[in-house]
C-alpha cells in the first residue's frame, strides 16, 4: 500500500522537522521480513545476474550467524529485522529522456529539498544522481562525463553495464564478513551509486548524490562504490534528508572507495536525517560502514558534517596500503535533544611513509551523547608512518555528554603519532559579547559554532559548506543552556 498524504497528516504531529514530508508516488514494496525468498525477490526485481544473487545469499547466511554489535556508546531499542520491508521502488522506473518528462510530483519533492535540478545544472555544474527509495530516477550530465570515460550511474545500472568492475571491486574494501550491518547491506542492498574515473582523468565537476528515505517502514540499504583509477581525481558529495517517521528507521549503507596508484578521492557528506523529536521519539538509526583503500601515493579524504539521525554509528576509514599514501578525516558531529552519535575513523597504516590526519569536532546539546571513537593502527612494515589527531568537543548544556575513545596500536618504532584533545563549554561570555554588538543569540551561536568547525567546513566544496553552515545553525537553534 502506498503511503498517502492522509497517513502523513496523522504522522505529522511534530512539524519541527523541516524536511518531514512524503511524496505520494505509488511504489512497489516487498512484504516485511527477511529470508532467502525475499533476497531472491529483490534480486529478481532488479533483474540481477546469478553471481550477484549468490553474493547476496552468501552475505545473508553470514549475517544470520552474526550478532548486533553493542560496544558503541549508544543505547537504543534494537530494530526488529523481520518487521522491515527490504524493497520499495517507485513504480515508474523508466528513465527520463529530458527534464520535462520527470514526474511533477518528484520535481516538487526535489524543490522541497532545495535542489532544483535545473538550477543545480546551470549554476553549479553538479551532476546529481537522485536516489529516491533506492531507485535512481534521474541522472544528469552523463553525456559530458561520458566523453571523459567517467562512469557515474546507479549501482543497479553498473551491475548491468559494467559487471566486470562491480564484480572486481564490490566487497574488496568492506567484505561481507566485516560487520553485522555490512553483511546485512550486502544481502539486501537495493541500489546506490557507482562511479569510475579512468586513468589520469581529473573529474571536472563535483559528483553528487542525494539520498532520501521516502517510503514508510523501509530500511535503506544503499551501496556506493567509487573507483579512482591510476592518477585520477574525483570529488564526491553525498547529502541526505529524510521525511520524519514515528517508528525508528534503519539505514545501513556501505560505501567503498578505491584509490589506485597516484589517485585521489575526496568524499564529502552532509547528513541531515530525522533525529527524532524533542523527547527522543522516532528518528533514523544510521549504521554505516564507509571505508577507502589507498594504493601507492594515493589519497583519500573523508569530510562529514553529521547533524541528523537518532543514533549514529559510523567510522569512515582509510586503509593506507600503498607507500606514501595519505588518509584524512574531517568531521563535525552535532547531537541535540536525545540524539546519540558514536563516530570517528580508523586509519590503518600498512605502507611506508603513510600519513593520516584526523580532525574531529563534536558538538553536544540538549541531553545528547556524542562520542568520538578512533583507531590509529601502525603495522610493523609501515616505516615512518605519521598521524596527527585532534579531537575537540563543545558542550552546549549541562546535561549533554562528550566522550573520546582514541585507540592507538603501534608496531613500528619509527612512527610518529600525535593526539590532541580539548573539551569546552560554549562561553556565556562569547554570547554576551556578540549580543552587545547587536547580534541575536541565534546568530551568535551560529557564528561561534561555525568558527569552531571552520577547519572541517573549509574542506567542503563551496556550495556544500554554505548548506552545512545553515544545517549547523538549524540543528542548534535555542540549544544553549
Amino acid at each position: 500500500m502506498g503511503y498517502t498524504e492522509n497517513d502523513l497528516a496523522k504522522d505529522l504531529e511534530n512539524s519541527e522537522y523541516k524536511f518531514g514530508f512524503t511524496t505520494n508516488i505509488e511504489s512497489d514494496r516487498a512484504p516485511n521480513g527477511l529470508n532467502e525468498t525475499i533476497i531472491r525477490y529483490i534480486s529478481a526485481k532488479k533483474e540481477e545476474p546469478e553471481w550477484l544473487l549468490e553474493y547476496r545469499l552468501k552475505a545473508f547466511r553470514i549475517w544470520s550467524e552474526m550478532k548486533e554489535p553493542n560496544w558503541a556508546h549508544v543505547h537504543y531499542e534494537k530494530p526488529d529485522f523481520q518487521a522491515i520491508s527490504y524493497y520499495a521502488a517507485p513504480k515508474q522506473t523508466k528513465k527520463y529522456e529530458s527534464w520535462d518528462d520527470v514526474d511533477p510530483e518528484l520535481k516538487a519533492t526535489m524543490a522541497k529539498l532545495g535542489i532544483s535540478m535545473e538550477e543545480q545544472q546551470r549554476l553549479t555544474g553538479v551532476a546529481v544522481d537522485f536516489v529516491m527509495d533506492s531507485v535512481s530516477v534521474a541522472t544528469s550530465f552523463k553525456a559530458k562525463l561520458g566523453e571523459l570515460g567517467i562512469i557515474f550511474c546507479s549501482f543497479s545500472e553498473a551491475v548491468k553495464e559494467h559487471p566486470e568492475l562491480v564484480k572486481q571491486y564490490m566487497g574488496s574494501v568492506v567484505p561481507v564478513t566485516d560487520n553485522f550491518y555490512a553483511a546485512l547491506n550486502s544481502a539486501v542492498f537495493t541500489d546506490g551509486s557507482f562511479c569510475y574515473i579512468p586513468k589520469g582523468v581529473r573529474c571536472p565537476m563535483e559528483l553528487s548524490t542525494y539520498f532520501r528515505i521516502n517510503e514508510a517502514n523501509t530500511g535503506q540499504f544503499e551501496r556506493t562504490l567509487v573507483i579512482a583509477d591510476e592518477g585520477s581525481y574525483v570529488s564526491y558529495l553525498e547529502g541526505c534528508t529524510a521525511p520524519q517517521r514515528d517508528e525508528n528507521q534503519l539505514h545501513a549503507a556501505v560505501v567503498e572507495l578505491i584509490a589506485l596508484n597516484d589517485a585521489e578521492i575526496k568524499y564529502s557528506t552532509v547528513q541531515n536525517w530525522y533525529p527524532g523529536d524533542k523527547d527522543g521519539k522516532g528518528g533514523i538509526f544510521n549504521f554505516v560502514t564507509k571505508r577507502g583503500l589507498c594504493e601507492t601515493n594515493a589519497k583519500i579524504s573523508w569530510t562529514q558534517v553529521e547533524t541528523g539521525s537518532a543514533v549514529t554509528w559510523k567510522y569512515p576509514s582509510c586503509i593506507l596500503k600503498g607507500d606514501n599514501s595519505i588518509g584524512e578525516f574531517y568531521s563535525v558531529a552535532v547531537t541535540n535533544n536525545y540524539q546519540q552519535a558514536d563516530t570517528g575513523t580508523k586509519m590503518i597504516h600498512l605502507g611506508k611513509n603513510t600519513k593520516s590526519t584526523i580532525i574531529s569536532k563534536g558538538i553536544s546539546a540538549g541531553k545528547s551523547q556524542n562520542s568520538y571513537r578512533g583507531l590509529v593502527q601502525i603495522h610493523k612494515n609501515a616505516h615512518n608512518a605519521r598521524n596527527f589527531s585532534q579531537c575537540d568537543s563543545l558542550l552546549m548544556t549541562d546535561e549533554c555528554g562528550a566522550h573520546t575513545f582514541p585507540y592507538i596500536e603501534c608496531k613500528n618504532p619509527s612512527a610518529k603519532i600525535e593526539h590532541e584533545a580539548t573539551t569546552s563549554k560554549i562561553g556565556e561570555d562569547q554570547i554576551f559579547y556578540c549580543l552587545q554588538r547587536g547580534i541575536s543569540e541565534e546568530k551568535a551561536i551560529s557564528l561561534i559554532v561555525n568558527g569552531y568547525c571552520k577547519e572541517v567546513l573549509n574542506q567542503l566544496p563551496m556550495e556544500f559548506a554554505v548548506e552545512a553552515q545553515k544545517l549547523l545553525a538549524i540543528s542548534l537553534e535555542g540549544s544553549v543552556g
Binding site: Y433, C434, L435, Q436, R437, G438, I439, L447, G451
Partner: protein, 250 residues
Amino acid sequence: MLKIENLHASIDGKEILKGLNLDVKAGEVHAIMGPNGAGKSTLASVLAGREEYEITEGTVAFEGKDLLEMATEDRAREGLFLAFQYPVEIPGVSNVNFLRTALNEIREYNGQEQISAKDFMALVREKSAIVELDAKLASRSVNEGFSGGEKKRNEIFQMAMLDPKLAILDETDSGLDIDALRIVANGVITLKSDKNATIVITHYQRLLDYIVPDFVHVLYDGKIVKSGPKELALELEEKGYDWIKAEFQH
C-alpha cells in the same frame, strides 16, 4: 541621552549598586572613577544588559526609552556600545565577518538595507586607520592571539565601525603602554561628536590626560558620591581615594 535614577543592582543576592544617579547628554564625556569594588564595572554590565545582575530598584532612560526593558542586543542596536575590559576571543570567526554580521543586524533593526561588501570593506579601511589597526588583524579571528593592546584597539575599531550613540569604555586603559594608550585615546577623540556621548570608566587619571572629560564622578560603595569638573580627576590622582572613603564611611 542617558538618565539613570536611583539604580539598585545586585548579583547573587549581594547589592552592588545602591541608588546611583547619572545624567549624560549628547556631546558630553563623563569619567567615572573610583576604588576597586566600588561598582564601576557592574554599572557597565548593567547598562549593557548582562543577565547575572538583578535590578531591584530604579530606572534608566536611554534616548527616552526604558533601557532596562530592552534585550541586550536591542540596547546595542539602539546605539549603546560597551568597550570590554576583557575582550572575548571567538576562535574561527573573522573580525570582519563578526562586524559585518553585527552591522547588518543593527541596520536591519533600524530599517536600513544591508551594507554591500564593497562599502563594508571601504568602511573597514577607513575605521581601522583611526586606531592604526593592522589590516591583517581585521581578517584574523576575533581577538584570538591578539596582544592586550591589540584587543583594546580592536574594541575601539569596533566602536568606530558600529558608530554608537553612547559608548562606555570599561577600563580601556588597563594594561596599555603609553603608545597604545595614545592611539586608543586618539581613536575615541576622533569619534567624538555633538551627537554622541562617552562614559569613560577608569581607575587612573592618565587616560583623562588624552580624553578630557566634561564631568568626573566618583563612584564609591555603589553610589556616585562626588561629581566635579576635570580637575577632580587630578585631585583624586594626587590624594588617592582614602579621603573619599573616610568622608563616606559609615
